[in-house]
Symmetry: C2
Subunit: 351 residues, 2 copies
């Protein structure tokens, strides 16, 4: 007898290989632009989402987190770990996967790798914030910290905000060389020998360094009037990148205040430090950029809704592409009361 | 070029089909006995576990929950939904899957279906409670409610507690006929026309009905001295099976008090109603069965640690069997900083 499950019992699964296939099928810049469109849609309907804090399980070596959210129609969560010591052992610091489910039935509808996808959504999120807050006609960005996220950041700002030139700096020149090589032929790249050189003439400054401890990648005197800063690397307690004086000179924009107070640059200042949530700018409740001399600062830490936006983008792109596997993850007995019979009858077929 | 990920990037996945294959490979009774051994081990080291409450996302139609836990070495969580209206639409009320990860690295080490596995662990859990609390030399059980869980319950109590005869009753005689048919040749089955008939001569009474509303499957006068009751069906707010007078005549044992107060039979009584957590009996801190006339009541609702026990049983059995697939779920670039390069270089291979 056949024990093939019904179509409903299958969950589409996007492996790392298929995610890379999807990136090449769509194009990396086009894919980040598509995710950015979803981010904008989801930030515009911010109030529709369940905003549960992430559920963290801490150990001496790192943390494992579940980040759930729901818009009332679709439920999503991401599993993500953070283990800084992994790199020394030839493992990734961060691995992630995500799931979407239908709220009406509770059935999962997508399981996806999220290491590559998180890189895409993080860059798309910076581009989204930049699009909303940066000075008009910005053409040059500084990219300080040239690790795994840097090429995605530069290309997202190119595709979504019209940035033409990226000025790159990393404490490790081989990191800059790698990133510059990867970006060659895609945009103008200037490799710089110092952070000061990198920010020369840049209207947008993105910091994305890996320092775990309180660091000062940018000092106050380096930041001129009128720029937009994306501070991406400060994303957990004890990890910041900017001198706190910069915060006092800037208007600070965040994703979700309770989380950013713990994880973002603003952990350096008091609970009463005023911030604006980005969705409030979209809704018109709060002002974004007011004038040419204002410094806008996006203190990005990554929030569950962004993963949701990225996962639903992938779900919507899959149809017709065949760029996924079907996982037999849900039991589907003909008679729901007869689970035992289903297992029993499978005996001959599965032996 | 090859884009085959390294071994570390693969996560073993047990599909529904492979879970059924595993059940037949091991034997359903042997597998429940093995899970019961793990349950006992894990209840004995109860204090070692993170006991986070489940993270629930409620909607009008149902609930989606994440149930995480960790013993400091291994992290686990279960995704489970509950949608009572699904049955009317030809779908399962409950679907579930689970994951184990290595706390030291944060890497997932097992992804598994958990619809079949939850049925096995729920029955193993009842058998475990029965083994700890029931009168010695119990040979006959009553099984009230003959739905999807009933055959597993009966066989677990046979395999683990030496029960020889099951007396079955369901409000729907066709459910009893199905379950009795499935159990034929495995143990003595007596099909009964009323709950009163079912409990005649039974030293153990298991109730597992599907009523969502406050129900009274057992009334006080039906329960004689000295029996052990497993009340399994009451497992969410508003869903109970026993008349509350039975609670006052019994010593009540639970898995994790804060959860059972909300979901179990004891939601019918006050917060000050005294209960014993099962692990306290194992540790010797509290007494289990004291005398022949005492009624012991296991108010089971299902707890994250039980899923953990079942998942690690599956993980340990997989080795050498080949009864799993390998999912390419984790990105694994040769150079962790060069995620973009990994995606780029995959371009030719994946087109």
């Amino acid at each position: 007898m056949s024990i093939a499950p019904s179509e409903l019992a299958y969950v589409p699964f996007v492996s790392v290989e298929n995610m890379m296939r999807l990136v090449h099928h769509i194009g990396v810049e086009e894919m980040m632009a598509g995710i950015c469109t979803n981010l904008e849609e989801d930030f515009r309907r911010w109030q529709a989402f369940d905003k549960t804090p992430r559920v963290a399980s801490h150990s001496q070596e790192g943390v494992i987190e579940l980040m759930p959210t729901s818009d009332g129609e679709t439920y999503g969560f991401k599993y993500v770990n953070g283990h800084p010591k992994n790199t020394r052992e030839g493992l990734q610091t961060v691995t992630a996967f995500g799931l979407l489910a239908d709220v009406y039935t509770g059935y999962p509808v997508l399981l996806s790798e999220m290491t590559v996808l998180t890189a895409l959504r993080t860059a798309a999120m910076s581009a989204f914030a930049t699009k909303v807050l940066a000075p008009k006609a910005a053409k040059t960005m500084a990219m300080i910290g040239n690790g795994a996220q840097s090429e995605f950041q530069a290309l997202a700002l190119k595709a979504i905000c019209g940035i033409e030139t990226v000025r790159m700096y990393d404490i490790d020149p081989s990191a800059t060389a790698r990133a510059a090589g990867n970006l060659e032929g895609r945009m103008n790249v200037v490799s710089c020998g110092s952070p000061e050189e990198a920010i020369e003439g840049a209207q947008v400054i993105t910091t994305c360094t890996a320092d775990k401890q309180y660091a000062t990648i940018l000092t106050d005197n380096m930041v001129g009037a009128g720029v937009h800063i994306n501070a991406i690397g400060g994303d957990c307690p004890g990890k910041t990148e900017l001198h706190k004086d910069i915060l006092y000179r800037s208007d600070v924009f965040v994703e979700y205040t309770p989380q950013t107070r713990v994880e973002g640059e603003i952990q350096q200042v008091g609970e009463d430090f005023e911030v604006t949530e980005l969705w409030q700018v979209l809704s018109g409740a709060r002002q974004g950029r007011r004038d040419r001399r204002q410094i806008t600062l996006f203190d990005g830490v990554g929030f569950a809704i962004e993963d949701f936006s990225a996962l639903r983008y992938v779900r919507d792109q899959l149809e017709g592409t065949g760029i996924y596997q079907k996982l037999d993850m849900l039991a589907d007995p003909d008679d729901p009361r007869d689970l035992f019979g289903m297992v029993e009858r499978a005996g001959e077929a599965v032996r």
